[in-house]
C-alpha cells in the first residue's frame, strides 16, 4: 500500500524546513508590563530595512514597516520572512510601496512567510500590491499558525503590468496560504496558480478581463465572526453595486477559521481602494476586540 498520510504532516514539513539561516526578516512581538506591544527581537537583512516601530492600530499596538532597497524581486531570488506575535500582543506589519517582480529568463523568484500568533494576539500582515512584469515568475507561500483566540489578517494583491502595451503577460504566479491551529492540524489551504498567457486569454471563469486580483483573509479560530461578516456583506454589496469594474465576494473559511474576501478589479487603484475599505470595516468591527485583548 502506498503511503498517503496527508493530514498536516506533508504540509507541515514545509513550514519547519524553512531554513532559519536563510531568513531575511525575523520579528518577534511581545507585550510589555504596561500592556503595550513592542518588538523584542528583530533580525532584518538585505534587501529589507525596518523603520522604527509606530502606533497605527491602537496607542498600545505596534506597527512595523518593512522597506526593500533592492527595487523588487528578481530571478532566482529567495525571500524568507518569519513573524511571531506573543500572547496578547497587537501588531501590524506592512511595507512602504508595491513590490515589482521583474522580467525573468527561465527561473523564478520565491517568497515565503511564516506567521505565528499566540493566544489572543492580533496580527496584521498587509503588504502592498505585487506588480508582475512581463515574464515575471513568482512562487509565494504564506504559512500561519493560529493559537486559541488569536486573529491574523493577511492581504495580498497582484497586478499584471505590461508597460509597453505589447500584449505581454507575466510568466507564472503561484500563491499558497496554509493555516494550522496550535496543534498543527490543518485548518485552511488556499492555492492559486496560473500562467500569464492563460491570464491574458481573459477566460470566463478565471480572470475575465480584469487585470488585478487580491484577497483579505481574516483568520480567527474560536472568535465570533458573524457580526464582522454581516458588516462586510453590506460593504461588499455597496461596492459591487456602485462599481462595474470590480467583482467581489466573501465567504466563511473551512473549519470556521475565519473569513475570506476575494476581489477581481480593473487596475490596481480599484483593488487598493477595495482592500482599504475592507480593512476599515475590519478595524471598526474588531477594534473593541483589540481593546479587550490589550486590557486583559
Amino acid at each position: 500500500m502506498v503511503e498517503v498520510s496527508v493530514t498536516n504532516h506533508d504540509l507541515l514539513e514545509q513550514i519547519y524546513t524553512i531554513d532559519s539561516n536563510k531568513l531575511q526578516v525575523d520579528l518577534n512581538f511581545e507585550r510589555s508590563h504596561s500592556g503595550s506591544t513592542f518588538l523584542s527581537r528583530q533580525y532584518v537583512s538585505y534587501p529589507f530595512h525596518l523603520g522604527r516601530t509606530l502606533n497605527h492600530l491602537t496607542p498600545t499596538g505596534a506597527t512595523a514597516i518593512l522597506q526593500s532597497c533592492s527595487g523588487g524581486l528578481f530571478e532566482h531570488e529567495r525571500i524568507g520572512i518569519k513573524i511571531h506575535a506573543c500572547s496578547n500582543t497587537t501588531a501590524h506589519i506592512g511595507n512602504a510601496a508595491a513590490t515589482i517582480v521583474h522580467t525573468m529568463g527561465n527561473g523564478y523568484a520565491f517568497s515565503s512567510a511564516h506567521i505565528e500568533a499566540e493566544s489572543d494576539a492580533y496580527l496584521e500582515y498587509i503588504p502592498n500590491l505585487t506588480i508582475l512584469f512581463p515574464a515575471a515568475r513568482l512562487v509565494s507561500e504564506i504559512e500561519v499558525v493560529l493559537h486559541p483566540g488569536s486573529i491574523v489578517v493577511i492581504s495580498d494583491g497582484y497586478l499584471s503590468h505590461d508597460p509597453d502595451f505589447s500584449d505581454s503577460a507575466f510568466g507564472f504566479l503561484d500563491v499558497k496560504l496554509t493555516v494550522y491551529d496550535e496543534k498543527r492540524s490543518l485548518l485552511v489551504r488556499d492555492h492559486f496558480n496560473i500562467e500569464g498567457c492563460i491570464w491574458n486569454r481573459k477566460l470566463s471563469g478565471l480572470s475575465g478581463s480584469f487585470t488585478a486580483h487580491g484577497n483579505i483573509f481574516v483568520l480567527a479560530k474560536d472568535n465570533d465572526i458573524k457580526k464582522l461578516k454581516y458588516h462586510l456583506d453590506n460593504l461588499i454589496t455597496q461596492i459591487f453595486n456602485s462599481c462595474l469594474r470590480v467583482d467581489i465576494g466573501i465567504g466563511i473559511l473551512p473549519n470556521r477559521a475565519g473569513i475570506v474576501v476575494r476581489i477581481l478589479s480593473d487596475g490596481s487603484a480599484l483593488l487598493r481602494y477595495v482592500l482599504s475599505e475592507v480593512l476599515k470595516v475590519l478595524h471598526q468591527q474588531i477594534g473593541n476586540q483589540i481593546e479587550v485583548v490589550l486590557s486583559s
Binding site: M1, V2, V4, S5, V6, T7, D10, L11, Q14, D174, K176, L177, L186, L187, V188, R189, D190, H191, F192, N193, I194, I198, R201, L203, S204, G205, L206, S207, G208, F210, H213, L232, D233, I236, T237, F240, N241, D247, I248, G249, I250, G251, I252, L253, P254, N255, V260, R262, I263, L264
Partner: protein, 226 residues
C-alpha cells in the same frame, strides 16, 4: 486490444443515466450566466476549459489518485477528505462536492458495493461527510477500474454535467453541446496524459467562478444547487 469488460464498466459509471445527482449542479455557471459573462458557445467554451484545467485537473484529479492509492484504509480516506475540506473553495462548491460524494456512496450501497458500505458505516460513526473526488478515487477501483480510467470517467462526468447545465440554462443548444464535448476531448486527452499533480501542488484557480458563488448580494432564485 482494449479491455472490453472495463470499458463497459467505465461507460456505465460515466453515463448521465447513472443516478449520481450531478445534474443538479452548475458549478458556478448559473451565476456567470446571470452576470452576462457566459452568453454564447465561445464564452461557455472558455468557462468549461477553465473548470476542467483549473479545478478538475489541478485539484480533483490529484485527489482521485491519492484516494485510489489509499487501499482499504478508512483512516487514510478520512485524512484525504480532511485535506479537501480545508481547501478554501466557496461554501456552495464545497457543499456541492459533499452532496455528490454522499449521493454516490448511497447509490453504490444500494447497488451492493461492499466498499461503499464501509464508507457509509464510517460516515455514520464519525458523523462526517465525504467529497466527490475522494469517493470516486476510493470506490471505482473496487469495480475494477484502473487509475487512468477513474480520471477519464471523473473528467467526463464533470464536463458533461456542466455542458448539460449550459443547455438547460439556454446558453447553448444540443448540437453546440456536442461540439463543446468534442473540443474538450482533445484538451482532456492532453490533460490525462500529463503527470498527476502531487498533494502539495493541488490548486483551484477559478477566481471568477469563486467570486460569483461568494456573493452576499446574489439576486433571485437559483435553478441549480450551485
Amino acid at each position: 486490444m482494449p479491455n472490453i469488460a472495463n470499458l463497459l464498466i467505465c461507460l456505465q459509471q460515466a453515463d448521465s443515466f447513472f443516478p449520481s445527482g450531478a445534474m443538479a449542479f452548475s458549478w458556478g455557471l448559473e451565476s456567470l450566466v446571470k452576470d452576462n459573462i457566459v452568453t454564447d458557445i465561445d464564452s461557455f467554451q472558455d468557462f468549461l476549459e477553465a473548470q476542467i484545467l483549473y479545478r478538475w485537473s489541478s485539484f480533483d484529479r490529484g485527489i482521485i489518485s491519492i484516494a485510489f492509492k489509499a487501499g482499504n484504509s478508512m483512516e487514510q480516506l478520512a485524512s484525504i477528505n480532511s485535506f479537501v475540506e480545508a481547501m478554501a473553495s466557496p461554501p456552495l462548491l464545497q457543499e456541492g462536492s459533499r452532496r455528490l460524494g454522499r449521493a454516490l456512496v448511497e447509490v453504490y450501497v444500494k447497488l451492493g458495493l461492499e466498499a461503499a458500505k464501509q464508507i457509509q458505516l464510517h460516515l455514520a460513526r464519525s458523523s462526517s461527510f465525504i467529497h466527490l473526488a475522494v469517493v470516486q478515487g476510493y470506490l471505482w477501483p473496487s469495480l475494477g477500474m484502473d487509475e487512468s480510467e477513474c480520471h477519464a470517467v471523473s473528467a467526463h462526468t464533470a464536463y458533461t454535467s456542466i455542458v448539460s447545465a449550459a443547455v438547460r440554462l439556454g446558453v447553448i443548444g444540443h448540437l453546440d453541446a456536442q461540439r463543446c464535448l468534442s473540443r474538450m476531448r482533445y484538451l482532456l486527452e492532453k490533460v490525462l496524459l500529463s503527470p498527476v499533480p502531487n498533494l502539495n501542488d493541488l490548486s483551484c484557480s477559478t477566481l471568477m467562478v469563486d467570486i460569483a458563488t461568494l456573493r452576499p448580494y446574489e439576486q433571485g432564485s437559483r435553478f441549480f444547487a450551485n
